[in-house]
Amino acid sequence: MEKYAVYVPRLVKKRENFAPGHRACIGCGEALAVRLAFKALDNNVIVANATGCMEIVASQIPNSSWHLPWIHTLFENAAAVASGIEAAYKAMRRKGMDVPNNVKVVAIGGDGATSDIGLQAISGALERGHDFTYICFDNEAYMNTGIQRSSATPFGAVTTTSPAGKKSFGQFTWKKNMPEIAAAHNIPYVATACHSYPFDLMEKVKKAVNTPGPAYVHVLSVCPTGWRSATDTVIRLGRLAVETGIFPLYEVENGQYKMSIDLPKLKPIQSYLKGQGRFRHLSDDLIAQIQERVKLEYEKLLGKAKNGNKRTKRNR
């Protein structure tokens, strides 16, 4: 999809569902990702938004950035609220009420809302098979409350609750693999995306929302404030996350893995780590550990995608 890039910016529709003027930080990748995700959709969408940066910055009474019906949920229950909306529409239709039949439900949340506190609500909604889409905007920490670690914070990153110093080197656990957890529910569509690949992101969100049944999209969203990176490197960092293989772009459609971008060679992980203050303290040894892990995970993923391809060919 990204190969189209040159003229496609002029071919996407101009109407925005997430308006400018909100209070996100300069260079916020998450706000960009939200804007792109909802630009990909029409206005027949209801949004359930877990608390977090995106909810706080875009809903300061009496103003709102949303041109869509939008519900602010608790931190933990965006997926449960989305399930309820979807079930309510079903019930209204069953009772013969005159409701439009093309309403789509989208739940959104940060990485904290998704891979920590909201996980059971998401798992429940995916397992029950609601016709909805969950989009995680992953900036790799609890940014809205001042940069605390989450289970999606990567190994080695500094946050206020995973500091670096004499006794610690920052986050000492590996990033929780949320897309794999979603895929393990055997739902029809799972994808990863990043705002630095805007058309790929839009295409995936569109696909997710138009897939009957549950769909999950995990969007890496660069946060210059929390990552201690320059505000003009947001797009570049997103590209580097993909090009180094630390955040691969892929889709899982009905269990079939498919890589979104064909990378002949991964860039060294340093090129991604070096622009970010949160990794500033890392020793060569730790960087080598990260590099090894990234390579391992990437190869594992490639293996799944290859097997998937073979299987599709045989079935044909």
Binding site: K3, Y4, L11, N43
Partner: protein
């Protein structure tokens, strides 16, 4: 501002807007296939059909992607009559493009799964909407493909139906704008292949001098350099590796 009524709702719309856009702005859904706001309206698929009554009382069916809003217009988007005609249109499209998933899905939404018309053979998903040709001409500016011939012979084609178009830069915008997936673009190694409904063409991709990724067709880079008045030497590295 122009005042009109759509499905019983009184709305206001900017003068010069089409009924379709006015409806969309007010969350009223009208199905479309050939509409794309980046290019001039064309009215090929007819799916956006609506029933109107002018202020003077004249009633008729029009395509909402072309018809402009007027003061006092009354519009209905989903009457029995429209659903019936739209159903026939979808059946015809199903017969024309039996393999198009997009049309199958659209038809299914209207409750149509079979067509009573003769199904055309061959894997051809083209509905002759000219979205691709309009994009190529108006957005890219090269007119490498167009609709040719008349009646049942009408088709989307390269000049003279060859597997080659001198003007085509291989950007793939036609594939992006095709609503039915009738055009495909595949990049493999140093080669890009674009397949139109009846013709195909291959392009050599340029390799980035830094990362070694193949990133864009050479012809496209030459075209961009020419139209932007920049030097070809500025394009040796891909956008990711350029500083």
């Amino acid at each position: 501002m122009v005042k009109l009524t759509i499905n019983g709702r009184k709305i206001q719309a900017e003068e010069g807007t089409t009924i379709l856009y006015a409806a969309r702005d007010n969350n009223i859904f009208i199905p479309t296939l050939c509409e794309n706001e980046a290019v001039s309206p064309y009215g090929a698929c007819r799916l956006c059909l609506v029933q109107i009554k002018t202020a003077r009382g004249r009633e008729r069916l029009v395509t909402s992607c072309i018809y402009l809003v007027e003061e006092g217009l009354t519009v209905e988007t989903n009457t029995e009559r429209i659903r019936k005609i739209r159903g026939v249109l979808l059946e015809l499209l199903l017969a024309r493009c039996p393999d198009s998933e997009v049309i199958q899905e659209m038809a299914a939404k209207e409750g149509i799964t079979i067509t009573r018309f003769y199904k055309r053979k061959g894997n051809n998903k083209c509905i002759l909407c000219a979205n691709c040709a309009r994009t190529c001409e108006e957005v890219v500016g090269v007119s490498a493909i167009s609709l040719a011939n008349r009646g049942v012979d009408r088709e989307l084609t390269t000049p003279f139906g060859d597997d080659f178009s001198e003007a085509c830069i291989g950007c793939g915008s036609c594939a992006y704008s095709c609503p039915t997936g009738a055009i495909t673009l595949i990049d493999r190694g140093s080669k890009r292949t674009i397949k139109w409904p009846h013709n195909r063409m291959e392009f050599k991709l340029q390799k980035c001098s830094v990362c070694g990724n193949y990133w864009a067709p050479e012809k496209q880079i030459a075209y961009i350099a020419k139209t932007s008045g920049t030097k070809l030497s500025e394009y040796v590295a891909c956008p990711d590796c350029r500083d």
